[in-house]
Every structure is written in C-alpha cells, then in structure tokens.
Symmetry: none
Amino acid sequence: MGKLDSPQIEKERTRKEIFEAARQLFLKNGYRNTTIKDITGKASLSIGTFYLYFESKGEIYALLTIDFLKYMKTEILKATREKNLSPKKKLSNLRQLFFKMYESDKRILINLIPSRSTDALNDLAPGIARQIKDLSSDCFNVLVTTIQEGMDSKIFRRENPVVIADIIWGIFSALILLAENERMLDNRKDFVKTTLETAMETVYRGINPVI
Amino acid sequence: MGKLDSPQIEKERTRKEIFEAARQLFLKNGYRNTTIKDITGKASLSIGTFYLYFESKGEIYALLTIDFLKYMKTEILKATREKNLSPKKKLSNLRQLFFKMYESDKRILINLIPSRSTDALNDLAPGIARQIKDLSSDCFNVLVTTIQEGMDSKIFRRENPVVIADIIWGIFSALILLAENERMLDNRKDFVKTTLETAMETVYRGINPVI
Amino acid sequence: MGKLDSPQIEKERTRKEIFEAARQLFLKNGYRNTTIKDITGKASLSIGTFYLYFESKGEIYALLTIDFLKYMKTEILKATREKNLSPKKKLSNLRQLFFKMYESDKRILINLIPSRSTDALNDLAPGIARQIKDLSSDCFNVLVTTIQEGMDSKIFRRENPVVIADIIWGIFSALILLAENERMLDNRKDFVKTTLETAMETVYRGINPVI
Amino acid sequence: MGKLDSPQIEKERTRKEIFEAARQLFLKNGYRNTTIKDITGKASLSIGTFYLYFESKGEIYALLTIDFLKYMKTEILKATREKNLSPKKKLSNLRQLFFKMYESDKRILINLIPSRSTDALNDLAPGIARQIKDLSSDCFNVLVTTIQEGMDSKIFRRENPVVIADIIWGIFSALILLAENERMLDNRKDFVKTTLETAMETVYRGINPVI
DNA sequence: AATGAATGAGAATTCATTCAT
DNA sequence: TATGAATGAATTCTCATTCAT
C-alpha cells in the first residue's frame, strides 16, 4: 500500500508518520527523554531520514506544539463562536472540549504545559516562537472573553476573568500531569476523567454568583 | 559580610547557597534541564565545589524534596491538629498555609513534588525514595481527611474527597508553576497571590453543599 | 582497501579495530590508565564511535577477557584432550601453546586475566563475572590436572600441583608483562620467545623427580 | 609525645607518617586508587599538609619506589657481597631475601612491578627517573652476576643469565600479584609463602647442571 | 530519497593541587 | 606550619546532527 501513490503523497505520508511517532513519544516520555533514534525507530525509518523532513528535534517539537495549539484554537472557537450562545453554554462546551482533548486519539501534548517545554522552545526561530506565543494567547483569550461575557451578564460572579481563566487552565494541566505521573507512585487513581469532570463542575459552581 | 564568620558558619552558608540555587533552578527548569554548572554558576562557585557539599545531582534533588515535604507536613499538621477546629476552619488554615508557603523564604518546590518529577527519583537510594513517598502520602492524606470530615459534617458537598484533594493540590501546584514560567510568554500576571486566593475561594465555594 | 567491502564487513572491521586497540592499550597500561580517548585515538575514530560498538569501558574489557579465556580454554583442551597422551607430552603441548599465544594474531591479554585485574571486574553484570570466573577456573584446572597426572605416574616430582600450576602460570604472565613494559627501562631484551622457552624448560626440569 | 621534640625532629616525623601511610595505601589499592585524601586521612593530617612535605602524588610515589629499591639493593648486596660465598649460597641468600621482603613489615611495593607503575613514573623529573632506572638495573644486575658466577663455576647449567634472572624476578613479582588479587576470586590459596618457596626451589633445581 | 556510521559538544563526576586564613 | 574549601582539568558516557554511500 502506498507504493503506488505519487511521490508527493508518499512524502507527505512519511512526514506524518514521523510527526505522529514524535507526538506519542514526547507525550509519553517528555522532550529530553525522547531521542531521534526513538522517533525514527517507532516510525521504522533511519535516523538520517528524520533530517530530510525536519530541521531539528526542536523544530519538530515546535511544529507539534503549533499543530496542537491550532487544533485547540479551532475547537475553542467552534465551541464559543455562535453569537446567541449563553456564556454558561459556552463554558460547558469548553469543558466538554477539555474532556475530548484528553481522550482524543491525539491526546494532549503534556509537554506543552509551560514548565515542561521551556527547554525545547529555547532556541527557536523567532517566527516560530512568535506563532506559538500568539496561538497560546489566542486560546487563553477566548477563555478569558467567555468568562468576561458571563460576568457581564451576571451569570458568573464578578472576579478578574484572567484569574479565573488561569484557574481553569491550571486545573486542566495539573490534572493531566497528575494522571501521567502519579500512576507510578500511587494507584488509587485511575479516574482522571472523573476527577477532571468533578474539578470543572466544582469551579463552575464556584463562579456562580451569590444566591 | 560573612568573611568574619567561623568556618562552620561559612560552610553552612555555602551549602545553603548551593541548595537555594538548585531549588530555584529545578523549580524553573526541571530536573533534567538543570545542570550542575547552572547550579554552581548561580551560586558563583566552581563545579567541583558542588561535590564537596552534595553527593550527586540526584541527592540534592532528593534532599530538596524531603526538605520541602517535611516543612509542608509540619505546617499541615499544625494547621489541622486542634481537635475542636471545624473542617471549614481547617481548610481555611490550609489555604493560608498555601499562601505562606508561596511567600515563605523557603520558596516552594512544587516541581519537586514526586508526582511532578519521575525523572530525578529513578535511581535514588531505596530508603530515600521510601521517605519521599511516605512524606508525600502523609501530606496528601491530611488534606483528604480534612475534606472527608467536612463532608461527614455536611459542611461540604459530598464528593470523592480524594478527587477534591487532587483538585486543590493541582490548582496550587499549577498556579505556582504558571507564576514561575508564564512570565516568559506573557507578563499580564504578576499577581500570583491574588490568583491563588481567588482560586481557593472559588473551589471552596464550589464544594459548598447545595443550598 | 576496505572501502569496497559491504557495510556488514566494514562494521565488523571497525569493531575489530576498536577491540584490538583496546586490547593493546589495556595490556600495556592497565584498565584504569587506558581511556576511551586513548582507545579511539589509536583506532583513529572519535570517542562517540566507541559507544556505537560497545556499551561501556567495562563491557569491552569483559568481552576482551572472555574472548581471550575462550580461546585459551579451547587451545588448552586441544593440547591435553587425547587419552593416551603422556603427561610429559601434554605439558610440552601446553608450553607450545604458550608460545603460540604469545605470537598469535590475537596477542595475549595476560593483563586481562582475572588475577591481574580486580579493577575492571567490579561493576560487571553478574552473568559476565560468573562466565569469567568459570572460564578462568576451567583453564587453570586443566593445568592442575595435567600436573597431577604427571605426579601420579611419577613423571613429575610430588608437590602440590596447584602450586606448580601457579608457578607456570605466573612465569608465563610475568614474562609477557616484562616483555611489554620493560622495554622502557631496559632494552637489552627483545627475546621474549627465548626467555619464555628457557623458563618453561627450567621449570620442567625443576619438577623432574629426583634421579 | 613528640610535642616536646625540636621542630626539625617533629617535621621529620610528620614526613615519615605521610610516607608510611602512602606506602601502605599504594600497596593495598594501587596508585590510581589511592587519593591524597586517603593518605592524609590515614596520617591524621589535612590535605594541605601533604603539599608541605611532598611536591605531588607522583613525587611521593617515586620517592617510595627509590626508598624500596635502595633497601632492596642494600639487602641484595649484603646477601651476595662476601667473596668466598658460593654462588649456590648466594642464590639461596637471595631467595631468603625474597621471603623476608614479602613478610617484612615494609612489605613489597607491589606497584613497583613495572607494568603497574608506568602511570606514576611518567612525568617524573628526569633526575628521579634516572635514579629509579639505575637502582632497578643495579638490583637486577646483582642477580644476573650471581647467576653468571654460578654458571662460570659449573654449578648452574649454562644458559643466558639475564634470562634466568628474568625468570626469577618474574616468578617473584607474579606470585606477589597473585597473592594480592587472587584472594578475591578464589580462596584455595592462602599459602603464598609456600608457593614462593616451592617456586624458587623448582627454578633452582631447574638450573642445576645435567647430572 | 534513504541509510546509518561517525562525529563532537556537553553532562555528571573525581581528584590532584592551590591558596587564603 | 597547618588547614580544608575551592578549583578545574580529565574522564565516562549521551545524543543531536552530518555526510558519504
């Protein structure tokens, strides 16, 4: 299969295979613990081939990040775009989106969480760094705007919306990390999904206005 | 200053300087991304000096972790020990503790908490690994117990207390990390304390029973 | 030459070159005084290449030892296997074997023989350590048995056969070492072979029974 | 004790203590495995003090070597000096000397054996290197001369006396090494003295002229 | 395009040597 | 003199990247 496809298509397929192998390995082992050998091994290719498709380990990581952020931005916009959606509904959509991302076959790039990615993003081409920053801001801002709207229409308690957005994003990323690592030390919890759900509901209740 | 102190004191100071430099760098960059050169560089010492005070990179990491967990355990017990304290008050004390820890001269080594750092704990002496696990469990269990009490006396909404503890702990650690790192991407937020406070209040409201 | 060979052969050649360089350096300078840089330097390769072919300095040392002991065991058995060989003839064969080993294209790794090298065998995988011990014992025991036979049939003077084996083995290894190193202190001797021959004959005469 | 002695005497005592500590450690652990800290620790002094008495680790090793060689030369001359001593008796005296050295509280500097000391003697002041070479030659030459005499007077079988000397010296050093190291791998042999004795006797018988 | 052997910069660690007290 | 903290060169090992085939 594939051997009959045009070189263009063939090339694109190889690129995707490397991309996907890298995504999974970075997700599982982190940036530093993933080697080019690991990636090409998983993709059944030689080390040299990697460099025909990507400039460096840092680059593929950045591209992976951008890929994820773009996907996230799209989904976030989809969840909040409709004009006549109530902020309540929008937030509920975002919550669902988080579940979906966690469960999706794509999974979430755990290492996207700032503290984990400093390393890889350090000596990035300025253009790429810019793009990541912007996408990251875009995502965050939709969250902030949605919360702001909720506050404006008195559906949510009046607080600094940036702070609330930080909390939501923080819980999300923290629980993902817990889920990834805690397993080794402690097997009480297998129920990330439940925890995530409870967390979001708790926060949601927490921003309800005083009754 | 310092030049006048006894060698004992002088030595202790150097040890503390290395310890503190390591703490900050591990917190900011993680275990793998922090080199001995970084640590001694920050402490204005040579690489060799590090090994005069600590056995290895792994050892200082473990000591830092134990140091933090011991401090945390003491404080947590202090905040919840008294018999006739209401769960509400206990939780409020814990919240205050979180602030205090964030501001304390010790700084917080959230990154050092086991769940955050599989990396460093891999080839630790079994005794040390055990100690870390136990301290970690102890801290977490106080949180769980306090929440359980609150639920038993109907002050908190009935949920899985482990899940709620995860949420609280998750928010706490996530916000610390955000505070440390986000600055690079975005300088809107300098107000960790406020955010932390809001977060805890939000969660607290979120676990109030339905009225 | 070589550029025309298959990658397989090419790779095997490189491995052999490293192996051989290591053998010579360990022999000359001992385990601790031989660095990976020395080895790869001698083989005109970079340090990194070493690790493409061997896991560690300890591993190549162990492999070199096993290689030599296996060769030695095979040859020793060959020299003494035949049933109706007189002990005299067997010992004579062993003597010839010693010459052969000295001159063989394998060179002799006398320095690698366990008794000579506590250093390197310290943190060896237990399986490898066992293998080395066993091979080493096997070789030595053939020597002891042969001498024992000679004593039993009154061809050799009655002594502790282990002691005699130690002497023979000791002379052999000592002369090899002398041959390799003494050159620096003294260049009178270029005639290892002669010395070895005389030594063996002398010992042989020495264990003849009193007439 | 000692506190009342003159500075001169006091200084000499300290120097001796370091010297003796170094001798024992080099003997037990070899040159590379002995650190200045080990030496000064054994002598209950600080690291810095070492350098008040000796220029470097290499220097003390060389001095230790010279010390041993001088002792050896003196003893060798003592054992062979007398005019009317038969070569047989002289050789017998040398044999006794070997035992004595092995058993003496001074022990023998195992690392003196050429292959083991290359490291330490590499970048020696030329004068010291010369001295070592000369002493070493002197010792060896007495052995050669004695054997030569024995041959001249038909007491020993006619062979190359240098070769015979090599054999004797080789056995001696090899057995010392065996004694030091083999213990760890194999505890059959605790009887170095016996082995050494048997070895010398065997060689002695081996150089008897044909009867 | 694909390969994978070779490279070498960098990381952790050790230890002889120096030097301020 | 004596001390021992500090230094940094040297060593083992890792891995992203290159390049000849």
